[in-house]
């Protein structure tokens, strides 16, 4: 039997990309404001012999930059190199919550600063200085139902008042997790 006039709801999956952000309206163009929490998912295992998903809730709690950031860094690390001309240090305090979605739920997530990148709105990546951020640094192996708070440090152009931060656990290249979570590092 043929019926005409279907208004089909089409998945259009082939056109989708990294739409975890889409699900929460979170993207480079609509990054989360300072203090706002973004939910996402990370994987444990490579799919061949293990595979589990874990919920994460991530927020940027505070941002310091310029003299305030340098002062904080100096009190933590001692002498630090002066930022390059027209640049300044930026400190971001990040809260990261991790929770298993099912069983077995025993994977610890190796949270590392390299999983967070600061970039410009045009996509230019900003460097992470090689001296340590203030305590606590955002690094550690986090287990299910734990929250880890810590600082990240970047060197950003003074002229960029609204850099972005994104989280992606695929930093090491072994497993593609995809689905960046986007955050504002400025008020705009």
């Amino acid at each position: 039997m043929i019926r005409s006039g279907f208004s089909a709801l089409v998945l259009a999956g082939v056109l989708c990309v990294q739409n975890s952000a889409m699900a929460q309206n979170n993207s480079p163009g609509s990054a989360a404001a300072i203090g706002a929490t973004v939910a996402g998912i990370v994987e444990c295992g490579q799919g061949y012999s293990s595979h589990e998903l874990y919920n994460v809730k991530v927020s940027v709690q505070e941002v310091l930059r310029g003299p305030a950031a340098s002062e904080r860094l100096q009190s933590a690390a001692g002498e630090i190199p002066a930022p390059a001309a027209d640049n300044e240090y930026l400190l971001a305090s990040v809260s990261f919550n991790y929770k298993a979605r099912g069983k077995p739920g025993l994977c610890a997530h190796p949270l590392r600063p390299a999983q967070f990148k600061a970039i410009s709105a045009a996509g230019v990546e900003y460097p992470r200085p090689d001296f340590p951020p203030p305590d606590p640094p955002l690094t550690g192996d986090i287990k299910s139902a734990e929250t880890l708070d810590g600082w990240l440090v970047y060197l950003v152009p003074r002229a960029d008042s609204s850099p972005l931060l994104y989280f992606n656990v695929d930093e090491n290249g072994g497993v593609a997790h995809g689905g960046n979570l986007w955050f504002k590092l400025g008020a705009e």
Binding site: A8, V10, G13, Q18, E43, P104
Partner: protein, 436 residues
């Protein structure tokens, strides 16, 4: 940074790498291609590949390498920024059902069998099968590493459930499977299959078959839930694209339904726990557990008075790199308990682990996966493999590296002392109740 590179890739992966580099924001990345395969090909022939023509472009491979490494970057290659891809929620189309169905087939959105068109009304009806909001995030899935991982909402899963022919009462199980993030069409050059085993009250509430014919095409719930897993694995992570996100050389017929069935809990003897209880859930919880593997076969054994001595010999068909799953008819389980003294699944598993052996020499020398995946771990000192590597060739080692790599399931209707086994390993479990 700043160091020129060019990828040298075999032709079987040409579409994959071109597509993948584009998705990673590098359309136009430089590659040179050589014939496939190179595994097992003598060095002289591999050298001839490099000195010959690129089978994709027809140009000399060495010339391509030099020009790719020394040529100036194009505007496309130096571009920065974000690549936006549109994600329409609804596509407004007006056509016959036949033409619209064909549209889905032509776009690779289905498994090749007829679908139920996912109209707004049907998707809305499916959404009544759960209390969760349509825009709630369900999971994240990728065809395999390193492909893109896409996330998806309750509504997106509902679209695929409709297409598979599911009813709203099936939807919480489909959501639970989707929440595991395990794609049914896991891509590798081998041809993976998946398995979904359902435990708890949901089986009887929605008619999931765990008895006679449980693994056959006799239950709507088994059929459409398993099928929905395949369809959503195509559409919610871009999987199943031949040559790009699906590279299984032969494919796997199990991918049509993914071996979706219930465990026959009611016929388990006392002391034998159902799978979900083994994994830490309560008996009254409804749970789906997903497995990864390739195939199953049945045991055509002429049993004497004891069953269990046959098992190690039978299981030697499984690669020692792989895990094992035994699908036992409840009638066998009752005999294993009553006549042979196995008081629990765990006791049987421990016995299998202790008595199924492989010679160390055979293990290290004759299995491709052991050589590629296990040996590097052994050389890094990972136990028990590091100790096994030091053993003489005729020493016996366990075929399955840990008891946890062996799963025993009760399934079947007791019409035959029938049992099957396969190389499926447990991945994870998800609560169905959480998605009601």
């Amino acid at each position: 940074m700043g160091i020129p590179i060019v990828g040298v890739v075999t032709t079987a992966f040409s579409n994959l790498v071109i597509s993948y580099s584009g998705k990673q924001g590098m359309p136009g990345e430089r590659f040179a291609f050589v014939p496939h395969p190179i595994t097992g090909v003598p060095a002289a022939k591999c050298r001839a590949y490099l000195e010959g023509q690129d089978p994709v472009t027809g140009k000399p491979v060495l010339d391509e390498l030099v020009s790719s490494l020394t040529g100036k970057l194009t505007a496309e290659e130096t571009a920065t920024g974000f690549i936006e891809r549109p994600i329409p929620r609804v596509v407004e189309v007006q056509d016959t059902e036949e033409n619209l169905t064909q549209l889905f087939h032509n776009n690779g959105w289905t498994d090749g069998m007829p679908i139920v068109l996912p109209t707004e009304e049907r998707v809305a009806a499916m959404l009544k099968g759960t209390s969760h909001a349509p825009d709630e995030l369900v999971g994240k899935m990728q065809a395999s590493a390193p492909h893109e991982a896409w996330s998806y909402t309750v509504e997106k899963v509902a679209v695929n459930a409709v297409m598979a022919g599911a009813r709203p009462e099936h939807f919480p199980v489909i959501l639970a499977i989707a929440s595991t993030g395990a794609p049914a069409l896991f891509t590798s050059t081998t041809s993976f299959a998946r398995m979904a085993i359902i435990n708890g009250p949901i089986r009887n509430q929605i008619g999931i078959n765990s008895g006679i014919g449980a693994l056959g095409p006799f239950s709507q719930a088994n059929a459409v839930i398993g099928r929905a897993w395949t369809i959503l694995s195509m559409n919610l992570c871009g999987g199943g694209r031949i040559g790009e996100t699906y590279m299984g050389s032969q494919g796997n017929n199990f991918n049509y339904n993914n071996l979706t069935f219930g465990e026959n809990e009611e016929q388990l003897p006392e002391g034998w726990k159902p799978l979900h209880v083994q994994k830490g859930y309560e008996p009254g919880d409804s749970v789906v557990s997903v497995f990864n593997g390739w195939g199953i076969t049945h045991a055509d054994q002429s049993f004497g008075k004891d069953f269990h001595p046959q098992i190690p010999r039978w299981l030697q068909f499984i690669s020692p790199w792989s895990p094992a799953i035994l699908l036992l008819d409840p009638s066998i389980i009752k005999q294993l308990k009553d006549s042979e003294g196995f008081a629990s699944k765990e006791q049987l598993i421990d016995w299998i682990y202790s008595n199924t052996k492989v010679k160390a020499g055979d293990y290290w020398e004759n299995y491709y996966s052991v050589q590629n995946f296990t040996r590097p771990s052994a050389e890094k000192g990972v136990e028990p493999y590091a100790s096994w590597l030091k053993l003489p060739k005729d020493a016996e080692i366990p075929q399955f590296s840990r008891p946890e790599r062996i799963t025993v399931i009760s399934v079947g209707g007791e019409t035959n002392l029938f049992w099957q086994a396969g190389d499926f390993g447990y991945l994870s479990s998800a609560s169905v109740d959480d998605w009601r």
